[in-house]
């Protein structure tokens, strides 16, 4: 399936949960948030939420500075 992550299109060959996807990408999970198709998915759902073909994912960091 084809997924866009931060505007980069990537192919994955089987369905996955968000957590599995992040592991594959070697993306650390602390201090980040994630949206799929412009809606944020809370972190407590990452272990069960199934990513779909053509999903567009945005991963961004918590920023506390000001």
């Amino acid at each position: 399936m084809s997924i866009t992550i931060n505007d980069i299109e990537t192919e994955f060959y089987q369905p996955q949960t968000i957590i599995a996807l992040l592991e594959q990408l070697k993306q650390p999970t602390i201090g980040i948030a994630l949206a799929i198709n412009q809606t944020i998915i809370p972190k407590d759902e990452w272990a069960t939420y199934q990513v779909q073909d053509n999903d567009s994912i945005i991963i961004f960091q918590a920023i506390a500075g000001g």
């Binding site: 506390a64 500075g65 000001g66």
Partner: protein
């Protein structure tokens, strides 16, 4: 009923259809708390004082440092080593003597923050660290107070509004780790115009809130990228197990997340 002086001072915004005399009166009767008088709090306080917010409570325990002058627009070279609250109060009073400025020059604990926030209509989180943001969130949720929250680093900014009934969650829903990614000195700086812009937008959203003008930020977070001048608009979601806001009922019933 506005005085002649007020008509002149606020004439440019009285001309705006969504403002007018009634809304200006609401601004004059409003009390806003600004926590943090740095890169965000400086422009926010300036624009809110100049727009005619009746009462501002400004909170910061720091003194002005030379490195602040790169972005903290309330201060100048003569303010170095002065308390930020005192320098800010002087500057804001000169901008608008009608604005009642209360200063708090200490880092508040939960009980003290609760006492202050209880008295305000809107809270602006203009702090620069995660523990403060988590505390402000806890207090605002417990008091059902609207919190306009922004942040910035490098070329990037974020802004959103957390408010009851927390249908789209709170700060702890968004960042449940309560931690940032570890950054080094090269990635921890910020550009003046970026943080200034985010603080300015906090002031804009506060004015809209007092004037009951709806905002996309009530349900969304906006991410600003200063490198390509682009915005990402993402709908926020309440976390079903959030220990902070979970006790607030939502429109759809207990613990339902709207998507």
């Amino acid at each position: 009923m506005l005085t002649d002086q007020q008509f002149m001072r606020y004439s440019r915004q009285l001309l705006i259809a969504e403002i007018g005399e009634n809304r200006q009166t609401q601004l004059l009767n409003a009390h806003i708390i600004i926590i943090g008088l740095g890169g965000l709090g400086s422009p926010a306080a300036h624009y809110l004082a100049s727009a005619g917010i009746g009462k501002l409570t400004i909170i910061d325990d720091d003194i002005v440092h030379i490195s602040n002058l790169q972005r903290q627009t309330l201060y100048n070279s003569f303010d170095i080593d002065k308390l930020k609250t005192e320098a800010a109060q002087k500057r804001l009073r000169a901008i608008n003597p009608d604005c009642q400025i209360t200063i708090i020059t200490q880092r508040l604990n939960q009980a003290q923050l609760t006492k202050q926030i209880k008295q305000a209509d809107v809270v602006l989180d203009c702090t620069d660290n995660m523990p403060s943001r988590l505390l402000i969130n806890r207090v605002c949720v417990s008091l059902s107070k609207t919190c306009i929250s922004a942040s910035a680093i490098g070329f990037h900014g974020q802004i959103t509004i957390f408010q009851p009934p927390y249908q789209h969650g709170c700060y702890a829903c968004l960042y449940p780790d309560g931690q940032e990614v570890t950054r080094n000195c090269q990635t921890a700086g910020v550009l003046g115009p970026v943080v200034g812009m985010m603080g300015t937008l906090q002031a804009l959203e506060a004015i809209k809130k007092i004037c009951q003008i709806p905002s996309l930020l009530d349900s969304h977070i906006q991410l600003f990228n200063g490198l390509d001048l682009s915005w990402q608009t993402l709908m926020r979601s309440r976390s079903r197990h959030c220990p902070v806001c979970n006790h607030h009922p939502t429109n759809e019933g207990d613990n339902e997340t709207t998507r």
